[in-house]
Amino acid sequence: MVSDEALMLEFQRGSREAFEELFARYRGPLYGFFQRRLESQERAEDLAQETFLAVIRATARYEPRALVRTYLYGIALKLVAAERRKQQNAPANQSDAEPATDDATEEALWVRQALGKLDVGEREILMLREYEQLSYSEIAELLRLPVNTVRSRLFRSRMALKGYLEPEMKSHGTVTARGATGNTEVRTAEVRPEKDEA
């Protein structure tokens, strides 16, 4: 299989097929990336396409020393940050946002909720590791952090998440967790999760 980097170089030289191959490889993961971080499926779809649009516009800036994967998620992170800023500036539109997981399982909801309680920076590291399967050094490069910092924050976030998920593991039917402030929240499976804090 041709590597992502070779495809990107071919695309830099003008190969449309190389771009289509890259699109096929990364469209799904990027959609998942946006879907997990934003409320709207539609926006996730748009932003995934927008990531590739940015790639086309800045093809010349890509340097072979960076992995294509890191390059793409770097663009995606910037797009997410811009989208969140946009949402904060237009709170009225939030109610119009389509719920992301209509048929999500109870456990998936619980996981989302637990993730929402994590520190923003730690949550991003954890999600990049678990869902996008990025290595420590790739995360460090993306977030401009030292690798050791990434490792320690990842460990902290996993331990914190274990703490948030443990009560749910013990109980069945109701979902209970201890919030960051120490207050106890009781939620049923029917309860729609609050908007992601981040």
Binding site: G14, R16, F19, E20, F23, A24, R27, G28, Y31, G32, Q35, R36, Q41, A44, E45, D46, A48, Q49, F52, L53, I56, R57, T59, A60, E63, D103, A104, T105, E107, A108, V111, R112, L115, L126, R129, E130, Y131, S135, Y136, S137, A140, R144, P146, V147, R151, S152, L154, F155, R158, M159, L161, K162, L165
Partner: protein, 422 residues
């Protein structure tokens, strides 16, 4: 979990499970994990968290096609690739086949250029405030340049070369081709029998008895039939008097005059030079003879032939013009002959100055006051100089300093980032 009990930290255990631990540490971790119950529990917790997270899966999007906007951008890019010259012209990087350089390389370049510029400016400022080193360098360079130019020139023919001899204190100078202009009998149309040389000489003397030396100079000049062309005497306070004189001496008397003048004091500099003007003189004489012949013929015409008044007047005008030329050339010839007959001697007489003893010592109060006044003026001058310096060089220093600062900051950040990553 203490390090004394466990050879690997919890974070390392996690990195091992993620496949992010170095090989040697990974071996240690694997070995320890087999035996340690506590670490197995931690590993189980970590794996459990990862498994739980995987529960949240995102439904794949139904539409996996390239969006029209992306397709349009792709199309546009394809067209631009085909016609690179039509959009934005030729890229200089492509023309010179230069690779894309990282930002820190540009920053280093700018930093070096800024530093060089600043150093150059400081150098210029330093040398402009301390004139002497720069001047010496310039003079030295100028001398070298002149020497090179002289060496590059072809040697002058013997008849055209001007003999120049310059010696320092006391060395006798003998010009082998001395003019002896006075020996030539030069009539109005005579051609000189020997070479005609315009001689010039320079003499700088230092004497303790200035007045006596001056009188001696005048006597010597009188004895040898010379005269003073120009004479200046200056007597500045705090230094000795100086006499600058341009003397005209009969060419055949020049050597004798100089020999006597040298006895008036210590010779600092002595120089002699001669310029042969035979060719110039012969040309002038020939042109003069021709002009006289023309004048004669015109006079004959006017005397013997008759014609219309306008013709007569035209001949008169022509005669007038030729006579004007003759007079001018005659004056030139006489001047040249005079220059040959009388050598030019530039003499400088300097008095050896002796400091006078201060009869009344300056009082301490006066000295303190003078020092205070000097100090005040020095402070004022330095403040004014600083302000002037800031006004004249401030903007340019700010520009290059800023460039240097920002480029060094980029390099510094880059180095720090590299150090952290390693």
């Amino acid at each position: 979990m203490s390090m004394s009990k466990h050879p690997i930290a919890e974070e390392e255990l996690m990195a091992y499970l993620d496949g992010e631990l170095s090989l040697d540490r990974a071996a240690t971790a694997a070995e320890h994990l087999e035996k340690c119950r506590e670490c197995q529990n931690v590993a189980g917790d970590l794996q459990s968290v990862s498994r739980r997270l995987m529960v949240w899966q995102v439904e794949p999007s139904e539409d996996s096609r390239i969006a029209p906007s992306v397709a349009a951008a792709l199309e546009q890019r394809g067209q631009a690739e085909e016609k690179p010259a039509t959009r934005g012209g030729l890229s200089w990087r492509k023309v010179f086949q230069m690779p894309r350089l990282p930002r820190w390389v540009w920053s280093s370049g700018i930093a070096v250029a800024s530093l060089a510029m600043l150093l150059f400016m400081f150098g210029v400022l330093f040398f402009s405030t301390n004139h002497s080193p720069m001047q010496y360098v310039n003079m030295d360079l100028a001398h070298k340049k002149m020497a090179t130019q002289r060496a590059a020139l072809p040697p002058l023919p013997e008849s055209e070369a001007a003999s120049t001899i310059v010696t320092k204190s006391g060395n006798n100078v003998e010009d082998g081709r001395a003019g002896g202009g006075g020996e030539h009998e030069r009539g109005s149309s005579a051609v000189p029998a020997g070479p005609m040389i315009v001689r010039t000489a320079g003499l700088t003397l230092t004497t303790k008895e200035f007045d006596k030396a001056r009188t001696g100079l005048e006597e010597i000049l009188k004895r040898h039939g010379g005269y003073v062309g120009q004479l200046n005497v200056s007597a500045p306070s705090g230094s000795g008097r100086t006499l600058n004189a341009t003397l005209r001496v009969p060419a055949d008397q020049l050597d004798a005059t100089m020999a006597e003048l040298k006895k008036l004091g210590r010779v600092d500099v002595e120089s002699q030079s001669g310029e042969e003007v035979t060719q110039q003189y012969v040309d002038l004489v020939a042109r003069l003879a021709n002009a006289r012949n023309s004048e004669q013929r015109l006079t004959e015409i006017l005397r013997h032939r008759t014609g219309e008044l306008s013709d007569v007047l035209a001949v008169e005008v022509e005669i007038e013009r030729v006579r004007g030329e003759i007079e001018q050339m005659e004056a030139e010839r006489k001047n040249l002959a005079h220059q040959v007959d009388f050598a030019t001697l530039s003499a400088t007489l300097t008095e050896e100055y002796e400091n006078q003893l201060q009869a009344v010592p300056v009082s301490t109060f006066t000295r303190i006051r003078n020092a205070a006044v000097d100090g005040y003026s020095t402070v004022t001058e330095s403040v004014v100089s600083l302000v002037l310096f800031l006004f004249s060089y401030g903007p340019v220093l700010l520009l290059w300093g800023g460039l240097l600062f920002f480029s060094l900051r980029i390099i510094w950040r880059r180095l720090r980032k590299n150090a952290k990553n390693t």
